[in-house]
Amino acid sequence: SQQGEEDPQALSIQEGENATMNCSYKTSINNLQWYRQNSGRGLVHLILIRSNEREKHSGRLRVTLDTSKKSSSLLITASRAADTASYFCATDGSFQKLVFGTGTRLLVSP
């Protein structure tokens, strides 16, 4: 069962611009996580936001969570070519089973 849906499916920007990705989910959650995946590699954890938090920052990343709308957004500021990757949101279930969305492919051009 797919919980999260990322939007847009693909995003192409220039270096220095900001990139915003959105995630919508269906059921109530304890927390929501964002992961990054470089092409053909495993996923790497970026940031976790708990259901009682509205916003969280980590370096150039800013995540917001709106539980009333069942949505989250990931903002990458001042993007770099090295940020090119796919980004996934994931919501938790029992035994920490994460349910992933289909991802947003981000391309940052120099």
């Binding site: 495993g42 938790d92 920490q96």
Partner: protein, 114 residues
């Protein structure tokens, strides 16, 4: 540095073959997971284990089985490989306890069944 190691990065197997995908983690994690990833479908959970010798079905367990004889090792088994099992397989682990723990992924195993 935390590490989840998948033994095979690329495999090509024939239809009907038995396939073993091995995963080892060095973080003493209780939970281990196997996902498959397909274009347009994202990651789908096949099986997970929250303790040695314990296993639970995920969303798409059909055609797969798993084994967890030791805490650090979680194996995915395709009893009789089929072409629709061609995919990227990702192993992951996390510590037990309350939700919200980071899940660590291996680098993935690309399986092609011909």
């Amino acid at each position: 540095d935390v590490k989840v190691t998948q033994s095979s990065r690329y495999l090509v197997k024939r239809t009907g073959e038995k396939v073993f995908l091995e995963c080892v983690q060095d973080m003493d994690h209780e939970n281990m997971f196997w996902y498959r990833q397909d274009p347009g479908l994202g990651l789908r959970l096949i099986y997970f284990s929250y303790d040695v010798k314990m296993k639970e079905k995920g969303d798409i367990p059909e055609g797969y089985s798993v084994s967890r004889e030791k805490k650090e090792r979680f194996s995915l088994i395709l009893e009789s490989a089929s072409t629709n099992q061609t995919s990227m397989y990702l192993c992951a682990s996390s510590s037990g306890g309350s939700s919200g723990n980071t899940i660590y992924f291996g680098e993935g195993s690309w399986l092609t069944v011909v």
